[in-house]
Point group: D2
Chain length 291, copies 4
């Protein structure tokens, strides 16, 4: 499932997506060749060969990449203009900057800090922001700055403004690691970078409070977690990754919750890794994940 | 997950459940010993040591079992009376009689017929009933009687009366193997035996028509199935078994449906096996499954 | 894991593999475009960007494909000559012809027959050959020819010659579905088509007779199966697919064997599907599987 | 899979194993009742109803347990004497003392330290011993003593004597968390407590050096890990737990090794938890695991 961290010198990742057209793959690969690149991996998907959407991820090696990027981008702009597709080129030696927002649960937060330290995630973590101070020592022991922004009750605008100020310009994406505050649509619009969330999932769904108790009462045999991009419709954004764990009647509701936490951290860390490696393309309300 | 078929000569399965009490395990096991039984396996569960409910499944070997059953049952009645628990004793050499209700889908039905023929399910299949004739030849090629009871539109009472007549006295439990008719509360009350159903499941749930299309649009990464006992609240009965399969963006909605069918038949066959082996105890709206 | 059956009209599958070189992807995709093809899916892999081997599978749609194939093949020959790579073009509307060799076990054989009948495998089955007559009726009930070629003791040459005669020119690949005869190197050389085998696997391995008993004695917690291409070194050929199932101390050695059979048939059917869809490329003693 | 930590006040865990006999279950459960205990959970297994071995784990609640233990043990000795079985009674409020031996790899060691700190393992960790100093700071940041005992080349007796001195009387079991030194039979005999090891596993096995490279060359699709009790026959002791992870051709040998490390730590932590909760019974060269 998981992959090598491709934060490598002189490697670029090119994402292309838009309306599927004859000649597009050929145009992209020819462009890379004429700019001195050697294709290392290529994944693509077309959701309908007849007039559907096209998605491509190409990793290529190019000596002296950083100096060459402006020329390659100019060529991409000119070549792909006719195809009316969107594209993004990134230098894979530059890790993405990830902010983590958390509350009092440590399982997802510590897992991300630990994996970053072990070199398993191609990210840097410029800050952790929390509405509680529970995790301050743990976070700083990893050498990561911790900022406490208390919740302000029903009016979130002051706290959100403070968080936006901390984030602005400093991060490439945000992870809600069991951050128990609802994000306002205004915040989402202003933050300008992707926001990834994690939450528990059940088959069937249990709406409202105390889902683990309801799951226990129904005798579910699987406990799951879903990681998705946050959109204005709460918990309804494009799914990045999901997984489940098997449970039995022998587990209490508290056990289910603890086991659910283990699934949550595993699912979130995979979603974060794939996002950080530019493996995830958003399209309408779903994702294409090249992993 | 699955287990040996325990349809063995001179083996009995005793189920006990009721309020948990000190001395109950001791009373049951002493009773088996004094009736000449040797305990082969024993599973038990207590959902709360302080005033909770108690569940037990004991398999024991007793030479000349069938002759001894009346005496053992009399002893059980007398001994367990004081504990106010329910109990059931079954001779494991007698397979349960299973009726299958189906419509036009073959995947679950054929899987059950095939496993029964291979000796993997401790059941006999006295009949398959369908509201279509699609599967008549396939079913009869297994030597199993097939009865066609057409749907009657909104008023189900005629068809259900016909089905009840076929079933009455002939079956120990019923499996809805993708039977696309809603069962009326009256039918459930009159049929007098457990009814097991199978349906697809998603995280999150997709309500209403075309769930696979909605799952595709949201980009789900897991497709699941749930088998449960049928109660008056449609699809809300106690869950027996669940499972999922991993999917990606590369699958179409039709692929998801086909892969979902594979999970359905696997989940249903496990649920049927465990029910037939007396491994499932219903309690409120959930199950205890000793597997 | 499994995929849509891509046995579609006017769809071609092109496999390219050989030394990795700059410009190769571009050359292939440009060729498809200039021959009127529209790329539907493209998978590729390079085992080392510096001087490694390159593997590619491209599915493209081309109206009037069958008439155009000679021209496309001529262009491929000319274009790819300079790159010194191997390539193969196949019309995906033509199912592969699969012979099955079996002995007395039915689990793998019936699973393949059933899946072919349900349209889940893009193959035809021109014949089943067995050294026993156990399965004759089952096979013929699927409308598939059955040939009995008895084993001849230590000297296999007569039996193998008979089998070769039946196969020659009639099949595109062969599946050993628990065929309990050792295949001679001479047979392999003469048969001229890929041969796929299935066998049980354990962690750790248990050498010699009665592996399930040894696995039981060591208390293994996983039972597995491996499907691979047959080479002259028995059971040492390139692995196509593997899987495991969880077991406990409660299973007997006979249970392990029965559960192992379930894994075997699942693993074999996936390996067969992927081979039949040209998703598997052999390279040295391993495979690249684009699934 | 995993379970609630049962380190609870006034809860006892009784393990019984020996030759299966009629009346044994009844004798044990009656004994618990007459000593004021209420059975909370009971698991048992018989490997052959006719003259096989019997295994039982009973958890019971008994007010003022610690004061009552001598009386219960006296009753057990007297009652079970006639059955010639072995038994062990433990107070579940007393965590087991676990020493960890490690070398330079951190993945298994940190996982154990972390889980202990999070309260997921019913153990204390009185010491970590390593033949390297790589992990000293990490270990001490968890408040756990770290002792450095350098390897002494081929003659291990001096280093082993030093380790034995540190361990003697201070620990209830030992975990080899990627400890890259071979343990001598003399050490095993003198240490007097169970030793748990973890190592990678493959289907098929790859003997000798560089197993991940060999696995890559053969194109394995699953990478696994096995945790077992250490016996004099290196890596051949009773298996406690195993698991695998799916890999593809896209992973390098280094990826396989990294993914293998993830499986190793998950498998080891489950094995340690089950051992610490008295869920594992050794019998000949295998285990019965009540989980």
């Amino acid at each position: 499932m998981s992959k090598t961290i491709e934060t490598r010198r002189d490697h670029a990742c090119l994402i292309v997506h838009g309306p599927d057209q004859r000649g597009l793959v050929s145009a992209v690969t020819t462009l890379i060749t004429r700019n001195g690149g050697n294709i290392v991996s290529l994944d693509q998907h077309s959701d309908d060969p007849e007039g559907g959407a096209f998605f491509q991820r190409v990793v290529f090696h190019r000596p002296s990449l950083s100096a060459a990027i402006p020329d390659i981008e100019a060529d991409l702009a000119q070549t792909l203009d006719a195809f009316q597709v969107e594209w993004n080129l990134s230098d894979m030696s530059v890790p993405k900057r990830m902010a983590v927002l958390a509350s009092t649960s440590d399982h997802c937060l510590l897992d991300l800090l630990w994996r970053e330290r072990r070199g398993e995630l191609p990210v840097t973590i410029p800050m952790v922001i929390s509405n509680h101070t529970t995790m301050v020592e743990d976070v700083r022991s990893f050498g990561v700055p911790f900022f406490h922004v208390p919740s302000q009750g029903p009016d979130k605008s002051v706290a959100e403004a403070k968080i936006l100020e901390l984030l602005q310009g400093n991060v490439d994406f945000i992870v809600l690691a069991r951050y128990m505050q609802i994000i306002s649509p205004e915040f989402l619009q202003q933050v300008g970078v992707p926001v990834i969330n994690i939450h528990h999932s059940f088959l069937p769904a249990f709406i409202g409070a105390a889902p683990y108790r309801k799951a226990k009462e129904r005798g579910v045999k699987l406990i799951g977690a879903t990681s998705h991009y946050v959109t204005e419709e709460l918990d309804e954004g494009p799914i990045i990754e999901q997984d489940v764990i098997r449970v039995t009647h022998a587990e209490t509701a508290a056990d289910l919750q603890r086991m659910g936490a283990n699934v949550e951290r595993a699912v979130l860390s995979r979603a974060v890794q794939w996002h950080a490696e530019d493996r995830v393309i958003r399209h309408h309300n779903h994702t294409i994940v090249f992993n």
